[in-house]
Amino acid sequence: MSENLPSDPFSADLLRGHTDTIVLGTLRRADRYGYEIHKAIRDATGGQYEIKEATLYATFRRLERDGLVESYWGDETQGGRRKYYRITDAGRAVYRRNVADWRTTQRIINTLLDHDHEGPRP
């Protein structure tokens, strides 16, 4: 398990730079609350990558300030009310643009490193 974790701090930093986009991606299909988003990211990578939940709260607030997500309190009666996040049209546009930017960057890096035959072709 541990050998699968990004051991190189560079790759973890690289991923951290995309936290906003990753969070927006988890909200594309359905509204989710904080722990659900954390779990979706963890499960999507089969546990290989995990964003510390504590750091997600700053991300949520930044996304909400920029109008990329909206939040609302759920109506759970038990175990505390959950704060749900909903992606906005602005959030969808930013998500699509960031994904397109990433694909371009990935292609360029693959070409420069001469590893493009290994990576998935767009």
């Binding site: 939940e53 700053a58 300030r65 759970e76 505390g80 959950r82 959030g91």
Partner: protein, 312 residues
């Protein structure tokens, strides 16, 4: 169940110890509490003992104190920066705003401009043709009149959907499905108006009124649904500018409420006047109260949204 909860709550209290409990901080605390409890519940469902589950959930979440400090300090520095700058002179503020606008400028796509001009021409042509038909200047067979109304409706839908799909300096493009739904609703509304015109030409036939009414209801239902579910499309830089320099209605909710009440009363009166004028003078002149109300509304906006002292 009862033995694990104090653990989670205590951990939260420790993390928030000494932090001023503003509504924002309270909100964050409750959000984290619900998420911690969700994780505890999940671990317990997997067979973990309550105490262990609480401890594991708290361990997993990471450095809460650092997160709390980051969020509250970020806010404090932003506020301080805004205060320290003081009020810039109008010229400086204007120059800064111009720089921001230039930095975020998105030029309109030439193909979009051409499409909009062409579709608007189609719409204007359809409106003129139907107006001449209602005024009795020209005569069109029903099929042709319906085709004209349909062309006007499709042109409107096209303009609306196309415009919403464009990225502008201040707004992100709308997802395609939503933009199409807005366009379709607007098209249904225009088609209903066109059929209304057809009915006005010869009130002896009921079908234009029936179809028009169905389209009008569909358009209203569509526009209301879309309006209620609409989320933010404004870019972050515009939101920041708006937060620094809010308009009068954001600063003064009482003025905003008063404006809403005036507008509501104005348009109700206009609607009643349309009916009265239509019945007494004739339906050809029923648009006059609408025009009058529009003029009054503009004066209302000018007087209430932009205060006389705003330019000083």
């Amino acid at each position: 169940m009862t033995s694990e909860t104090p653990n989670v709550h205590r951990a939260l209290d420790v993390a928030f110890d000494g932090v001023a409990l503003t509504p924002e901080v309270q909100d964050l605390k409750e959000e984290i509490r619900a998420n911690l409890l969700a994780r505890v519940e999940e671990l317990q469902a997997a067979g973990m003992a309550p105490d262990d589950a609480a401890r594991a959930a708290i361990d997993e979440i990471g450095d809460l104190r650092a997160a709390v400090d980051e969020i509250t300090e970020g806010r404090a520095t932003r506020g301080a920066a805004a205060d320290a700058g003081g009020a810039p002179s109008p010229a400086e503020a204007w120059a800064a705003h111009e720089r921001l606008v230039a930095l975020h400028r998105v030029r309109p796509n030439p193909a979009f401009v051409v499409r909009t001009v062409l579709l608007a021409a189609v719409l204007v042509g359809a409106v003129v043709a139907l107006a001449l038909l209602v005024a009795g200047v020209i005569d069109l067979p029903d099929g042709a009149a319906v085709a004209v109304a349909a062309a006007g409706a499709l042109a409107t839908g096209g303009v609306v959907a196309d415009a919403l799909r464009q990225e502008t300096s201040s707004h992100y493009p709308m997802p395609a499905g939503r933009a199409l739904a807005w366009g379709a609703s607007a098209a249904a509304g225009v088609a209903a108006l066109g059929l209304g015109a057809l009915f006005a030409v010869d009130t002896g036939r009921a079908w234009p009124l029936a179809v028009g009414a169905v389209l009008a209801v569909a358009a209203t239902a569509g526009l209301v649904t879309l309006g209620v579910t609409q989320t933010n499309r404004t870019k972050a830089w515009v939101r920041e500018v708006a937060a620094v320099a809010p308009d009068r209605f954001s600063q003064d909710p009482v003025a905003a409420a008063r404006f809403g009440l005036y507008s509501g009363a104005l348009w109700l009166a206009a609607l009643a006047a349309v009916v009265v004028v239509g019945v007494t003078v004739g339906w050809v002149w029923a648009w006059v109260p609408v025009l009058a109300a529009l003029l009054v509304e503009m004066v209302l906006v000018a007087r209430m949204l932009f205060r006389a002292d705003a330019g000083r």
